[in-house]
C-alpha cells in the first residue's frame, strides 16, 4: 500500500507537469515561452522521478518474502501463530495509513476530516463561532481534555482576536449563514 502511494504521488507530479506544459502550447508566443522553458524539463524530471520511485519500490518489494510454491510451503516449517498475526497486523496498519501515526495520533482519514470540519465551520459560521465550536469540540471530544482547558484555549483565542480587531483593525469573516442572511450577526466584533 505504501509503495502504491509513493508511485501515485510521483504520477501526480508527472500528470501536473504534462498537463501544464501541454496547456502552455495554447498560449500566445510571449506568454508560453517561460512555461515551456520550465515545463519541458519538469516533465522530463517528473518522468525520471516516477521511474526511480517504481524501481525503488520494486527493489524494496523484492527484499520481502516471495510467495513460495505449494510443495515448498508444505516442506517448510510451520509458521508460529504470533508471527502470522504480527504480519497480518502490520499489513492492516499499513492499509489504514496508520504507519506514521502513533497510538495517540489520528489516522490520515481522521486528520483530513478534522481539517475539513474546521474549514466547513469557518465557511458556514465565520471565524469566532468556528474557533469556539471546533476548539472545544476537538479538545473535549477527540483529545479528552478537561473542561477548564477546553474553555481556556478558545477564550485566549477570542482575546487575541479582540486585540487584533481593536488595535490592528483586522476584519473577520462572518460566515456564509450571516452574509446570506440566514442568521443575524450578534457578536460585538
Amino acid at each position: 500500500m505504501e509503495s502504491l502511494r509513493a508511485v501515485l504521488a510521483a504520477s501526480a507530479l508527472l500528470v501536473f507537469a504534462v498537463t501544464a506544459t501541454n496547456m502552455a502550447t495554447n498560449f500566445g508566443v510571449e506568454a508560453r515561452r517561460l512555461p515551456l522553458v520550465v515545463g519541458v524539463p519538469l516533465t522530463v524530471m517528473a518522468l525520471m522521478n516516477l521511474v526511480v520511485v517504481i524501481r525503488a519500490e520494486r527493489a524494496a518489494f523484492g527484499r520481502s518474502p516471495r510467495p513460495v510454491s505449494v510443495r515448498a510451503a508444505a516442506d517448510a516449517e510451520p509458521t508460529a501463530p504470533e508471527a502470522l498475526e504480527s504480519t497480518r497486523l502490520a499489513a492492516l496498519v499499513s492499509e489504514a495509513g496508520l504507519d506514521e501515526a502513533t497510538e495517540e495520533g489520528l489516522s490520515f482519514s481522521a486528520a483530513m476530516l478534522s481539517v475539513a470540519t474546521v474549514t466547513g465551520l469557518f465557511f458556514l459560521l465565520g471565524l469566532i463561532p468556528a474557533a469556539v465550536v471546533y476548539t472545544i469540540g476537538f479538545m473535549k471530544g477527540v483529545g479528552k481534555e478537561s473542561w477548564s482547558k477546553s474553555l481556556l484555549v478558545p477564550t485566549l483565542l477570542i482575546l487575541m482576536f479582540w486585540l487584533f480587531r481593536n488595535y490592528l483593525n483586522v476584519r473577520f469573516y462572518r460566515g456564509w449563514l450571516v452574509t446570506e442572511g440566514f442568521i443575524p450577526y450578534v457578536l460585538p466584533f
Partner: protein
C-alpha cells in the same frame, strides 16, 4: 552609506522595536515546539505584516527569523528533542551535559553562543555591503535571470533529500507562479475561467497551507505530548560558568560563527548543514575533541553559534540579488515584495536604510532572544508538555484566520487548505517544500528578468560573458555528479572481477 546607517537607526522607533519583540517572543515559543521551526512562526505572522507599517512588519519577521534557532537549545538540552532540523547538533553534547546535572550551564552557553553568533553574522553583513553594492549594480537582467536558475539548481543539488525530487519541486513551484495574467501581454494562464486565479496564487495562503496547515496535519497524526515528563535542571550558579564558556573558548565561537556565515551565503545549505560543519570543525580545534558527544560544552557552543550566524550570511544573496537560499528567506522576500520593497540593486541604493535596519534588528533580536530564554527557561520548557490536541485546533484556526486576513477572500482559505494537504504529501513522500516555495517566489522575478532580457537583447542575452559563465556552471553542476556516478557504475564490475581473480589466485 553613513546617511543610510543613520536613517536605519532612526527607523528603530519604539513602535518598531515593540513589534520586533513580538516577533522574537512568538518565534522563541514556537521554536521550542519540536517540528515547528522559525518558518512556521514567520508564516503565522505574515498576514499581520500587511496591517503594520513596512518597517514594523519587516522588523517583526526579521526578529522572528533571527531567534528561530535560539529556542531549539532549550528542548535539545533539557529533553534531547530537537526543536527543528537546526537543533540536532546541540543535542549531541547538550543533552549529555544535562544528564550530568549541568543543564543550566549547557543552556546558558548555548544561548549566549547563539547571541554572539547572530551578532557576528550581522556585523559580517554590514561589512560585506560596500563590496556587494558595485557588484550588484554591475549585473543586469540577463545575469539575474541566470543567477535565479543557478540558485534553484544549487538548492536541489546541495540541499537535503533526493536531488531529483528537490529539483522537481523547485520547477513545480516555478510552474505554479505562472498562474494568472502574464505581465507583458495580459494573457490569462492556467486560470480555468476562475476569477480568483486571474491575480495568480497568493503567497500568504500558499505559505500558510504548506507550512502551518501541513504541520498541524502531521501533529494530529503524531499525537501525544511533545516531550517526556522528566526535565533536568542544574544549579543557577552555572549561569555565570556557561556565559564565560563562550568567551573562554573564543576560537571555537569565532570559527563556528564564520562557518555559519559562509554556509548562509550559499543558497541551499541551510542551518542544518552549518551546525554539523561547525561541530566537526570544533572537534578538530578542541583539545577535548575525542570527548565530543559525552558532554563537552564546546560542542554546544559550536552548533549554536553557527546556527544563528548563518542568518547574516543568508541575508546577503536575499537582499543583494533577491535570491533566497531557504524557506525563511523566501518568506521574507515575499513579504518585502508585498510591501513594495524590491530586493536587488534598488535595495542597496534607495532602500539601504532598510538593510541597515535589518542589521540592527539582527543584533538586538539575538541579544533579546537569548536573554529572554536564559531568564525564562523553566516557563518555556513547559510549552513542550502541551498535547497535540491542545495545540492543533487553535493553530488551525489561526492559520485559516491568517489566510483570510491577507486579502479577505474566501479563495485564500481554500488555497491554504489545499496547499496544506499538498504540503503534507510533500513531507510524506520526500519532496522539498523549501525548493517549491523558492521556485514559486522566484518565478515572478524570473519572468520579469527574462522579458527584459529578451526585449533588450533577444536570445543573444545568453551570450553575455557572465550569463554564459553562470549557465556553464549550472550545466557542470548537473552533468559532473551524473557522469561521476556513471563512471563509478562502469568501474564497479571490473573492480569486482579483479577482486575475484585475486581471491582465486590465493
Amino acid at each position: 552609506m553613513t546617511e543610510a546607517l543613520l536613517q536605519g537607526l532612526a527607523n528603530l522607533t519604539p513602535y518598531v522595536l515593540l513589534w520586533m519583540t513580538v516577533g522574537v517572543l512568538v518565534s522563541t515559543v514556537i521554536a521550542i515546539i519540536p517540528g515547528l521551526g522559525g518558518v512556521f512562526a514567520m508564516v503565522l505572522m505574515l498576514p499581520l505584516v500587511y496591517t503594520l507599517t513596512p518597517e514594523a512588519g519587516l522588523a517583526m519577521l526579521v526578529g522572528a527569523m533571527a531567534v528561530s534557532g535560539t529556542g531549539n537549545t532549550i528542548t535539545g538540552v533539557l529533553f534531547g528533542v530537537p526543536g527543528s532540523a537546526t537543533g540536532v547538533a546541540t543535542i549531541l553534547d547538550g543533552y549529555p551535559m544535562a544528564k550530568k546535572g549541568l543543564a543550566t550551564r549547557a543552556l546558558t552557553a548555548g544561548l549566549t553562543a547563539s547571541a554572539v553568533g547572530g551578532v557576528f553574522g550581522a556585523i559580517v553583513l554590514a561589512a560585506i555591503l560596500p563590496v556587494m553594492r558595485p557588484l550588484v549594480l554591475a549585473l543586469g537582467s540577463p545575469e539575474f535571470f541566470m543567477l535565479i536558475f543557478a540558485a534553484l539548481v544549487f538548492m536541489a543539488f546541495i540541499g537535503e533529500g533526493s536531488m531529483l525530487k528537490s529539483l522537481s519541486s523547485g520547477f513545480a513551484g516555478l510552474m505554479l507562479s505562472f498562474v494568472g495574467l502574464e505581465i507583458s501581454t495580459a494573457t490569462s494562464r492556467y486560470t480555468f475561467g476562475v476569477l480568483y486565479l486571474v491575480d495568480g496564487i497568493r503567497l500568504v495562503p500558499l505559505f500558510i497551507g504548506l507550512f502551518a496547515v501541513a504541520e498541524m496535519i502531521i501533529l494530529l497524526r503524531k499525537g501525544g505530548t511533545i516531550a517526556p515528563e522528566e526535565a533536568l535542571s542544574g544549579a543557577r550558579s552555572q549561569i555565570t560558568e556557561g556565559f564565560l564558556d563562550v568567551f573562554r573558548h573564543w576560537r571555537i565561537t569565532l570559527a563556528s560563527s564564520v562557518t555559519g556565515v559562509v554556509v548562509g551565503i550559499a543558497p541551499g545549505l541551510g542551518a542544518a548543514a552549518a551546525q554539523f560543519i561547525a561541530y566537526t570543525q570544533a572537534m578538530k580545534l578542541s583539545k577535548n575533541g575525542k570527548n565530543f558527544g559525552t558532554g563537552e560544552v564546546e560542542g554546544v557552543i559550536a552548533a549554536d553559534a553557527a546556527t544563528n550566524s548563518k542568518d547574516g550570511g543568508a541575508l546577503v544573496p536575499t537582499l543583494a540579488f533577491g535570491i533566497p537560499g531557504s524557506s525563511a528567506m523566501a518568506l521574507l522576500l515575499a513579504a518585502m515584495i508585498g510591501l513594495g520593497v524590491t530586493p536587488g540593486p534598488s535595495m542597496l541604493t534607495e532602500d539601504l536604510d532598510l538593510v541597515w535596519m535589518f542589521i540592527f534588528i539582527l543584533v538586538i533580536a539575538n541579544v533579546v532572544g537569548a536573554a529572554l530564554c536564559i531568564a525564562f527557561t523553566g516557563l518555556f520548557a513547559k510549552v513542550t508538555r502541551v498535547t497535540a490536541s491542545t495545540l492543533a485546533p487553535p493553530i488551525l484556526i489561526i492559520s485559516l484566520f491568517g489566510a483570510y486576513a491577507s486579502s479577505r477572500t474566501l479563495g485564500d482559505v481554500w488555497t491554504a487548505v489545499v496547499a496544506g494537504v499538498i504540503g503534507y504529501g510533500m513531507v510524506r513522500f520526500g519532496y522539498s517544500r523549501a525548493t517549491f516555495v523558492i521556485g514559486f517566489v522566484l518565478g515572478i522575478l524570473l519572468e520579469r528578468h527574462f522579458l527584459l532580457s529578451m526585449r533588450l537583447y533577444g536570445f543573444d542575452f545568453l551570450r553575455r560573458p557572465v550569463t554564459l559563465g553562470i549557465a556553464l556552471t549550472i550545466v557542470a553542476v548537473i552533468v559532473l555528479p551524473v557522469t561521476a556516478r556513471i563512471v563509478r557504475g562502469l568501474r564497479a564490475p571490473h573492480q569486482e572481477e579483479r577482486a575475484d581473480d585475486s581471491a582465486a589466485a590465493r
